[in-house]
């Protein structure tokens, strides 16, 4: 009589073949989820409900992370170079070998687990040799699940904490893959980031120091009075951004109470104390003094 582990092992292999051969990222993710869920059932006796639930939730979370990456449209797989039939043949051959060999005698777990594990490891070899990050993540996931199936076959059922650790490992691998996939959004964000960094100037120690210690009074006094423009330093003036600086980060995290913009009366002091003529007298003719008007609040005109 066929055991549930046999069906689960077949499902593992089918899911693995789908994950390796499909080109649409979402179908790849579905294949991986099938592998991850079915792999938790290739054991005899079945683990406790808590362990199975942890594995299934882990598989779903891992699939969701990859789905999110695939949903952006940038994570489509390159698919298999040798095609569905050839990958299926490789998986079947590895499965047959796994059923035939007995490196451990007697096996502590079902032979189907060993067969499915070898099959997944065989399927993972080619993706791991490539340079497609998404496909490599698929390979890492298949390799991990294949290794875990070998553990089940050679050492018997795993305790619940190990199932939990495996679920966390799968989520970690899926998260790592989704994070490492180069995305077009990330490229655009980088361009915007670099643009902002250039426009905002470097956030460096000396820049902060000079900013704080600058005698703004003298600077204002010496400046020609012209309509100001958005300032962008010349290329030659830009300093190299140090590796740790992050221009997106607010730089006043620790600088509580730092001086803010000037109050009204500052202009008077700036104008008086600065050497030389007042700014308004240097470049531009002094504009007409505005009549001192107060809002008519209904009193005397």
């Amino acid at each position: 009589m066929l055991d549930a582990a046999v069906f689960a092992a077949v499902a593992v292999v089918l899911g693995g073949v789908v994950a390796v051969t499909a080109r649409d990222g979402r179908i790849v993710v579905l294949g991986l989820m099938l592998v991850a869920v079915a792999a938790s059932l290739v054991t005899s006796p079945l683990p406790g409900s808590l362990a199975v639930t942890a594995r299934i939730l882990g598989a779903m979370l891992a699939a969701y992370l990859l789905w999110a990456a695939a949903g952006s449209g940038t994570a489509d797989s390159a698919g298999s170079a040798i095609g569905l039939v050839a990958e299926g043949a490789v998986a079947t051959a590895a499965f047959a070998v796994g059923l035939a060999i007995t490196p451990v005698d007697p096996l502590a777990g079902p032979a189907e687990a060993q067969a499915a594990g070898l099959s997944l490891i065989a399927l993972a070899v080619v993706p791991l040799a490539g340079r497609d990050v998404f496909r490599m993540g698929v390979g890492v996931t298949l390799l991990t699940l294949g290794s875990s199936l070998l553990v089940v076959a050679w050492s018997g059922s795993a305790p619940a904490l190990e199932q939990l650790a495996l679920a966390a490992l799968l989520v970690g691998i899926a998260g790592a893959t989704s994070l490492l996939i180069p995305s077009s959004e990330a490229d655009e964000a980088t361009e915007v980031w670099a643009e902002g960094a250039n426009a905002a100037g470097p956030r460096t120690a000396s820049a902060i120091e000079t900013l704080e210690a600058t005698d703004w009074a003298a600077a204002d006094a010496a400046a020609p009075v012209e309509e100001s423009q958005p300032i962008r330093p010349a290329e030659s003036e830009r300093r190299p951004r140090p590796m740790t600086a992050d221009p997106l980060e607010p730089d006043d995290w620790l600088a509580w109470g730092a001086p803010e913009a000037e109050p009204r009366r500052d202009r008077a002091r700036i104008a008086r104390r600065a050497p030389g003529p007042r700014p308004a007298e240097t470049a531009k003719p002094v504009p007409k003094k505005r009549p001192h008007t107060r809002p008519n609040l209904g009193g005397k005109p």
Binding site: T214, I231, T244, A271, V286
Partner: protein, 587 residues
């Protein structure tokens, strides 16, 4: 319960830090609070605490708590340094995830769980590597990181099953042992960037990761190394041709790492690359501890791992601070850095002392013991050679700092204390000027341009205001304002002091302080679980003591290890840690 509290803090902190990522300040606060909580929980971890989780018993030891405290303290200090030099966004969650994984791994009584958790603890390195995914290096770094992850995970799982199983169909059981030894050593070597596998580490150093380097190259490899060393004497201590060949292969890698890592550090001019190659070189001692296959190597290896974690964290923080303070990471542009930042110089000296020690110091003796036990007699000179090579690149760093400062270094403030030079204004005059201000306000144009040297400085503020106007400074400064400005002016000083504090802690630990020497004798829970396992194939490891010698009982009576064969009294081992009766596996 203390371990469970530690794990809960790590997991909760990880989730909250990731969830609050869009809110920069909140995320930082959560990250720092989580790391601080994890540090407190690790410091309060009782040696004989145990709890059952998922059918597996987790038990704490003195060294386990010490090691987790070292990890948490390093993470916290580096994140605080990151507040000043540039916040490493994903370092804190990755560190929390790694600490949770390592915490389970070193406290588990089930070896398979330990190796699975150790493998899971390596995955957060992708959080660090993912920051560069959109740079030209992004794909290469991503591929390298995933390949490393694949190798470490599969090696850990296969090592677990290989070590645990005794029913192999093999004429020579040492073949299986050799295979297990190779995969364990390969996992450690690949993750720590040992020389044939150093390309991902080199790529990371070029990608501007800064403080994030420490997670991938120091914290994760030491956790993995600690788990791998548990099998060292008890499982792999048997004689056998296949095992000897495997050990020779790992020795070759270790020697290449010790020599070529130092050469790489000497040849490169970017301080991140120097730091990375320095880390790679010192990771060679973990491989030497593996090749020793002796209980005598356990205590020095643990002490070395403690010193390695904190000293290399301090070195990474030093590099990040120097790059930030002088706005360059090129050694050519950093000429004279020591003159401008003497505190950073002191920190570097403390790091050198913590890494190398001097004759008679615990860390020096630990390195010497690992070389003596891990290499054949004809290669013992490599211990001295490694020290000299290390000294060479450290002295190079210091010597460059003593040269005439470059313009870039001169322009930077360094870490000398500074007080803001702000205009002095009498308050009385201000009171009299109120009326006149209105006239000037009306007469003055709404904004003025500034000279070019001021343009760059004001750009950040004017951009932040969004109106293109140049900001003005408030000439009237209260003492509170002056203190605030002084606080910001002295950020390089603060960062240097933090680096110095980290380096000092590293030096104290490396010299056996804070109880590091005693803690390193106690081992981790997995040591005792591994010692209780039979060897594959029923091999006996002869005269090798199988249980770690411990000066004091590290695991309480509640701990129930894997059922072991009947204990056989053996002669007291010649371990330096003092002898205790041990059990012999392999019945």
């Amino acid at each position: 319960m203390t371990l469970v509290a530690f794990l809960l803090i790590c997991v909760t902190g990880l989730l909250l830090t990731l969830l609050t990522q869009p809110y920069a300040r909140l995320s930082r606060l959560v990250a720092l609070a989580s790391l601080g909580g994890a540090l407190a929980a690790a410091l309060l971890m009782r040696p004989n605490d145990s709890a059952t989780l998922g059918e597996v018993q987790l038990a704490t030891t003195w060294f386990g708590g010490f090691f987790l405290s070292a990890l948490a303290a390093s993470s916290l200090l580096l994140c605080i340094v990151g507040l000043l030099t540039g916040w490493p966004e994903r370092l804190a969650p990755a560190a929390l995830a790694t600490m949770a994984g390592v915490g389970v791994a070193i406290s588990s009584t089930d070896p398979t769980v330990a190796l699975a958790a150790a493998a899971a603890a390596t995955a957060p390195a992708a959080l660090i590597a993912s920051r560069v995914r959109s740079t030209p290096l992004g794909t290469t770094v991503g591929v390298a990181e995933l390949r490393t992850l694949a190798l470490v995970v599969s090696a850990s799982l296969l090592a677990a099953v290989t070590i645990l199983n005794t029913n192999w169909n093999s004429d020579d059981p040492t073949f299986v042992l050799a295979l297990a030894f190779l995969v364990v050593a390969a996992a450690v070597a690949v993750r720590s960037g040992a020389v044939p596998f150093h390309v991902p580490a080199a790529l990371l150093s070029r990608s501007g990761e800064g403080l994030g380097l420490v997670l991938s190259l120091v914290w994760i490899p030491t956790g993995l190394g600690l788990v791998a060393l548990s099998w060292n004497a008890s499982i792999f201590g048997v004689p056998g041709d296949w095992l000897d060949r495997a050990v020779v292969a790992v020795q070759v890698v270790a020697v290449a790492t010790l020599v070529l890592g130092a050469v790489g550090a000497m040849l490169h001019d970017e301080i991140e690359e120097i730091v990375v190659y320095s880390i790679v070189q010192d990771a060679g001692f973990i491989l030497l501890a593996l090749t020793a296959r002796s209980a005598d190597a356990a205590q020095p290896a643990r002490l070395w791992l403690l010193a390695f974690v904190i000293a290399k964290s301090a070195l990474v923080a030093w590099a990040a601070t120097a790059s930030w303070a002088f706005e360059t990471s090129s050694l050519g542009d950093l000429r004279g850095w020591l003159r401008r930042s003497p505190i950073l110089g002191l920190a570097l000296v403390a790091i050198v002392a913590a890494t190398l020690g001097w004759p008679g110091s615990p860390v020096f003796e630990a390195r010497g013991t690992l070389v003596r036990l891990g290499l054949p007699d004809s290669l013992h000179f490599l211990g001295t050679a490694a020290i000299l090579l290390s000294l060479a690149y450290y002295v190079r760093l210091l010597a460059v700092g003593l040269l005439t400062p470059t313009e870039m270094v001169r322009r930077a403030g360094g870490d000398w204390p500074r007080w803001p030079r702000l205009p002095k204004v009498e308050d009385e005059e201000v009171e009299d000027e109120e009326v006149e201000n209105e006239e000037v306000e009306a007469a003055a144009p709404p904004a003025v341009a500034v000279p070019i040297n001021q343009a760059e400085l004001g750009a950040k503020r004017s951009t932040a205001r969004g109106d293109g106007r140049m900001p003005h400074r408030r000439p009237h400064f209260s003492i509170r304002h002056r203190l605030a400005v002084a606080w910001r002016l002295n950020r390089p000083l603060q960062a240097s002091l933090l680096v110095l504090a980290t380096a000092t802690i590293a030096a104290i630990v490396a010299f056996g302080g804070f109880g590091a020497s005693d803690a390193s004798q106690s081992g981790i829970t997995l040591d005792q679980a591994a010692a209780a396992l039979p060897n594959p194939g029923g091999l006996d490891n002869g005269d090798q003591p199988t249980a770690e010698p411990s000066a004091q009982p590290s695991v309480g009576p509640t701990l129930q290890l894997v059922p072991s064969p009947a204990p056989v009294a053996s002669p007291a081992p010649s371990a330096s840690a003092g002898a205790s009766p041990t059990t012999t596996a392999g019945e």
